[in-house]
């Protein structure tokens, strides 16, 4: 909490009283909001126990968890494809050859400014007209991979550029080719440094899989839609779906934050090992 110390000191008696008043007001406001929401629910009969009881039973959850499994599968495949494509694009964008650099840069810049939903519509409605009708799973995974590859490329590029030039030069001096020096020396260090960003981008991609709602691929959100059409518990179903997303993504962001904090406090093992070695031996 050292950052928040910027704007206030240790409170004195008057400040403490003001903070107490503000606390009470904030709690009252929060309770009023919750009360208002509950009243709206109650007035429209949405609080009735039988409208919530289905979500205490296994079949409903089994259906949603089935959807969650598809969400995770789509996300995993899409992460793998777009991370691999991202590495390739980042290397291409940093390559000495203009014929590689320009197309890769163009891809990244173009895709970053086109909404994922437009790509989904292209795969859904444009490609079938040209005889390319993908299975549902790929109709979701392909546009997500296409759009996230650009984001991953930018992350990897930042990582590669953050690795000191000397690392690549040392690799070249040892007689490695440029490709091998990149693969064996630079990329492992770059990947380590951008790991937190990779995790949070993956969390973003997991959120994007909710576009399965448009594709009618039975991931979590679309499963929720089907379920809500079947049991007519619209609000309840979508709230449960939202809760599942919240749990999954909050866990992922926590992982990203932990990784980031760990990197900040502890230098990577390579650096730690290098420091004592650099001490002159007398």
């Amino acid at each position: 909490m050292s950052a928040s110390r910027l704007l206030f000191d240790e409170p004195g008696p008057r400040a403490r009283r003001r903070i107490r008043i503000a606390t009470v007001l904030a709690v009252v406001a929060a309770l009023a909001l919750v009360g208002l929401a509950l009243r709206q629910f109650a007035d429209n009969g949405q609080l009735a126990a039988e409208r919530w009881r289905p979500y205490g039973t296994w079949p409903m959850w089994r259906y949603l968890l089935e959807g969650l499994r598809s969400t995770l599968a789509a996300a995993a495949v899409s992460i793998a494809i777009s991370a691999a494509a991202g590495v390739a694009l980042a290397l291409g964008r940093l390559s000495p050859s203009r014929w590689l650099r320009l197309p890769c840069a163009a891809y990244v810049e173009i895709v970053r400014t086109v909404p994922a939903l437009l790509l989904v519509y292209i795969v859904l409605f444009a490609l079938p007209r040209y005889g390319l009708d993908l299975p549902l799973f790929w109709k979701l995974v392909v546009p997500l991979s296409v759009s996230n590859a650009a984001a991953f490329a930018e992350i990897f590029r930042a990582g590669i550029r953050s690795v000191e030039r000397g690392q690549l030069e040392a690799g070249l001096a040892l007689g490695l080719t440029r490709g091998r020096a990149m693969r064996l020396v630079v990329l492992p260090q770059a990947a380590r440094r951008v790991l937190p960003s990779l995790v949070s981008q993956s969390a973003g991609l997991l959120k994007d899989t909710s576009l399965g709602y448009v594709v009618s691929f039975a991931e979590l959100l679309y499963s929720g839609k089907v379920l809500a059409n079947y049991n007519h518990l619209l609000i309840q179903t979508y709230l449960v779906v939202a809760l599942v997303y919240l749990v999954i993504n909050a866990t992922l962001s926590k992982v990203a934050r932990t990784l980031e904090a760990r990197q900040r406090t502890r230098p990577s093992r390579a650096v730690a090992d290098a420091v004592p070695a650099a001490q002159p031996t007398t």
Binding site: L6, L7, V114, D208, S210, Y245, N249
Partner: protein, 214 residues
């Protein structure tokens, strides 16, 4: 190319709606973001916790889930608002969480001496935040806010999934009528690129005007 010129009105109104959605949501996101960021640095513990809960909840649930929940769920509990209004409010609140994080990082980037000087002059928390810290913080986060603006532009497309006929939905409708997907979707893509180009230029200009060199 004829499909584009034939359906210029549809594209035009879609484009207009996209621009309106983006601008209104951005304004809303800026307000929500500044309020939440202020809560997160305030001396009141409850407000800090509430701000954090807001950011975590909004960021960790996909925007499309929020849109579906608001557009189809709210009428069920008797909250009836227009489709466009609902979309603007939801996108504002969602982007507000990201804006709050950007503004907070800007607040943390303001040198501690500024806050100390403000307190030494006898300014209260709200005064020092409003008069000293925020003006400096906002100037340092022009670039991140520009990225959020582009992200907002991209995210307004999701409103198409719940029935707002903005640019993406307009392109899709024209395609359903004309069945010439390539030109139609390329045109929509180019329009989005042009819009983000404008946002990028605006951000660059603002940044040059406002940035504080430290």
């Amino acid at each position: 190319m004829n499909v584009i010129t034939d359906h210029l009105p549809e594209f035009g109104s879609g484009l207009l709606l996209t621009v309106e959605l983006t601008l209104l949501s951005l304004a809303g996101a800026l307000v929500a973001g500044i309020v939440v960021a202020a809560m997160r640095v305030s001396p009141v513990g409850v407000l800090r916790a509430a701000g954090m809960a807001y950011v975590e909840t909004l960021q960790n649930i996909p925007l499309l889930v929020w849109l579906v929940l608001a557009v189809f769920g709210l009428p069920e509990i008797g909250v009836k608002a227009g489709l466009f209004t609902t979309a603007v409010v939801v996108i504002s609140l969602y982007q507000g969480a990201y804006t709050a994080e950007a503004v907070r990082s800007g607040i943390n980037a303001v040198p501690a001496g500024q806050g100390e000087a403000a307190r030494a002059l006898g300014l209260t928390f709200t005064q020092s935040l409003r008069l000293v810290i925020l003006p400096q913080a906002l100037r340092t986060v022009v670039q991140p806010l520009g990225n959020i603006a582009i992200m907002t532009l991209m995210n307004t497309a999701l409103a198409a999934a719940v029935g707002v006929v903005e640019l993406t939905a307009a392109a899709n409708r024209v395609n359903l009528a004309e069945a010439q997907p390539i030109w139609i979707f390329v045109a929509a893509g180019l329009a989005y690129m042009a819009l983000s180009g404008v946002v990028g230029l605006a951000t660059g200009t603002l940044e040059r005007k406002l940035a504080i060199l430290r």
